[in-house]
């Protein structure tokens, strides 16, 4: 499974892309990530999740998960990230940092 996150927008408007393949991870970590994606109900999330609140300079995320059964992409505003999806975003951010 490969998880890719493209972050756009924000005050600076600078695009940042992070991509992690679970094949390269220790089995235990790989299972943990798969669990986070499943707990997020990722394959059932709509392709676009917009925030209806006013504001400016929030990030926009495009999250793609590619697995054995195909690929699904969700574009979501920072203010509208479902609480169940946040752990996936955090995991990719932290794993890209190290």
């Amino acid at each position: 499974m490969r998880i890719s996150i493209e972050r756009t927008g924000g005050f600076a408007g600078i695009k940042q892309t992070n991509s992690v393949s679970t094949d390269q991870l220790p089995p235990e970590e790989s299972r943990k990530v798969a669990g986070l994606v499943e707990a997020a109900g990722f394959s059932d999330l709509p392709p676009v999740i917009r925030s209806t609140e006013p504001g400016g300079d929030q990030f926009q995320y495009k999250v793609t998960v590619e697995g054995d059964h195909g690929s699904h992409t969700v574009q979501v505003d920072e203010a509208a990230v479902p609480p169940s999806l946040q752990p996936v975003l955090n995991w990719v951010k932290n794993s890209a940092r190290t």
Binding site: F11, A12, E53
Partner: protein
């Protein structure tokens, strides 16, 4: 094709919703959104009521520390009149909010972002290494930056002015944050963010650097700022973070679904139109070009305005303020033509005369 907002009316006040629902092509969308809007408005009002409003005509800043979490607002660390703290981010947020409040008050006779003395609430140290500053509809939020490419986001006066101006736009033209109206929303924040910096430093058009976010990048980044209003697309070029993607003219307009339809990208076009207007007029940019843009924001834009509408409206307002065919109106018209948009002033003459009741106020050109 520019992306459409899914719930365009959620940020509209009732009088505009009523006006829109008179248009047959808008009616269905308006009615669909209305139920959602009323529910969200209830939530927002409940939140706003929890913040104590200031006395009319007074400045009230309050600063919270997020302590690297994403909980809002965090712990209150400084309130209006309180002594400086040992935390530079707290003091920057406080001082630069003060400059922004003073600019709007003294130059445009505006009492805070809502013109009714709204308390200016900021949270600093939001998140862990968070690379952003934002306005969430109710308050400002500042991250510390990752330290590798970005420093703390309170470091620049124009960034704080930019964020607070999102609050002004939210209370005036309410430009939908998507596509061209979103790029105008962004551009207006850059325009007034830059003007606040110029005003605080007493700089003329020729003395100003016309950069947005100069000082946010660490020394590791090859770039002088986040954006350049005078030369969009030239602010940075770095092997790690890429090249400044801003176009300077309409023929380089970027069609994308990223960034709400490129709101931080295509804002380069109206940014440069403002710079060229101010440059041609000369002197202090806030006195004439800034006044033209402020009056336009304050009276003659609808939430879905595009670049052509902005060009027409600013040209019309320039004519109303300084005279038809005046040097100021010609400066604005020439500026838009240079970026690839030919303004037509006449068709908007009637529109600009219809200011929103109680919102068109005398603005001084002093200070």
């Amino acid at each position: 094709m520019k992306p459409q907002a899914t719930a365009i009316c959620s940020i509209l006040p009732p009088h505009i919703v009523r006006k829109l629902s008179d248009k047959p092509e808008m009616r269905d969308q308006v009615l669909r959104d209305l139920a959602t809007t009323e529910r969200l408005r209830g939530i927002r009002q409940a939140f706003t009521m929890s913040l104590l409003p200031s006395q009319p005509g007074t400045k009230h800043r309050t600063i919270f520390d997020g302590q690297k979490t994403m909980s809002l607002p965090g712990t209150q660390v400084r309130d209006e009149g309180g002594a400086p703290t040992a935390d530079v981010a707290v003091n920057e947020a406080y001082d630069y909010c003060g400059d922004t409040y003073d600019f709007y008050s003294k130059v445009f006779n505006r009492n805070s972002v809502d013109d009714h003395g709204l308390t200016l609430t900021s949270t600093v140290h939001y998140g862990d290494g968070y690379d952003n500053a934002l306005w969430n509809g109710q308050q400002m939020i500042y991250g510390d930056g990752d330290g590798k490419y970005f420093q703390r986001f309170t470091i620049c006066l124009d960034v704080i002015g930019h964020e607070l101006t999102h609050g002004v736009t939210q209370n005036e033209a309410q430009l939908v944050y998507s596509g061209q109206s979103g790029a105008l929303n962004e551009s207006i924040s850059d325009v007034f963010g830059s003007l606040i910096k110029q005003w605080a430093n007493n700089q003329t058009v020729d003395q100003a650097d016309w950069l947005i976010g100069a000082g946010i990048f660490t020394d590791a980044v090859q770039g002088k700022a986040i954006r350049s209003m005078s030369a969009p697309g030239t602010a940075y070029g770095d092997p790690n973070i890429g090249d400044d993607p801003q176009p300077a003219t309409m023929d380089a307009y970027v069609n994308t679904t990223d960034d709400n339809g490129g709101v931080h990208i295509n804002s380069g076009i109206p940014n440069r139109a403002f710079f060229l207007s101010a440059k041609a007029i000369g002197g202090y940019a806030w006195q004439k070009a800034g006044l033209i843009w402020y009056r336009t924001l304050n009276g003659s834009l609808n939430p879905n305005a595009d670049f052509q509408t902005m060009a027409n409206a600013t040209t019309t307002v320039a004519g109303s303020l300084f005279g038809q065919n005046s040097a100021e109106q010609k400066a604005v018209s020439d500026a838009w033509n240079t970026v690839g948009i030919a303004p037509t002033a006449s068709q908007f003459a009637a529109l600009s005369a219809q200011a929103k009741p109680g919102q068109q106020k005398a603005a001084t050109t002093g200070d």
